[in-house]
Symmetry: C2
Subunit: 147 residues, 2 copies
DNA sequence: TGGTTATCGTTGGGGGACCCAATGAAGCCC
DNA sequence: GGGCTTCATTGGGTCCCCCAACGATAACCA
């Protein structure tokens, strides 16, 4: 491939720029890995959230994962169409849908979790386990709005 | 506003996920700040690159900043339209355009650099200067493909 | 020298993530 | 009971990223 000069540039020392680059690479790695199972990042994230947090509404899912309600509709549609989750009206609150993972969903999740972990290992391959933990800790502290 | 539960989720411990969140917040902060000058992130990045690396071709700019040639065309169009850069045919190589920053471009860059720095300060406000340097160092090592 | 290969700017198309506003239905609070 | 809120859904929009192709030009090399 072509040799990229990557001359020093003021821009590339800014956290926001580095975050964008690193996130793009991470997204590429994970998305490519998940594509082997016909899944996308958001689908995997939602499936993982549903598996952990039990049956819950789309709004709750969206809040915990930071996903827009509009996008959530499409994601749950896809997951439901593939039989990975069930969407049943909540008898307690008829506005809500109770989203729950299915047996197929659990099986799929096992594989996508594996793929996601591998992709993240490759993403952080240049780091020691200690450094990886440092990175996670630092990112956690700047990822959220101050509120 | 609604209380976001942010219950523990396996997804949110993954570097790729955290990177996506942090990058989104960084982009929001920087983009909002630059919007005050009518600039977008990519425009500022290109302007900064041109200022540092002197007159150079669009392809070289794209390689150093990781910007797609297609997007570079639009960005340079905008910058040229605003009189911030000049695009002149390179006499040495008539395929290339020599992009160079103008006096107006330098003035604009001074302001946008200030705004970008402030936004990045806010982005990393929760970190000590030491931790900020750590984060930059770690990100630098995972931002680039292995090559 | 002539033919192949590569690069440059440009145009075209497309996808994924993110965000905002509005709607009807349903629950909540007083 | 009336006002406010929440829920799922629909619609519209922006930005960044990637791939493919093209005509023009340059570089390579036998």
């Amino acid at each position: 491939m072509a040799e990229t000069p990557y001359a020093p540039s003021r821009i590339r020392a800014l956290p926001s720029w580095l975050l964008g680059r690193a996130a793009a690479r991470g997204h590429r790695l994970v998305a490519d890995a998940l594509a082997a199972e016909g899944m996308r990042m958001m689908h995997h994230a939602v499936l993982s959230g549903v598996a952990e947090l039990g049956p819950l509404s789309q709004a709750e899912l969206g809040r915990t994962l930071g996903i827009d309600p509009k996008d959530m509709v499409a994601i749950v549609n896809d997951l439901q169409k593939d039989g990975l989750v069930t969407r049943t009206p909540d008898p307690k609150d008829r506005r809500k849908n109770a989203i729950e993972i299915s047996a197929d969903g659990r099986r799929r999740l096992r594989r996508t979790q594996q793929l996601g972990d591998e992709a993240n290992a490759e993403l952080t391959a240049a780091l020691t386990p200690d450094e990886r933990e440092q990175l996670i800790a630092l990112l956690t502290r700047i990822a959220l709005p101050v509120e």
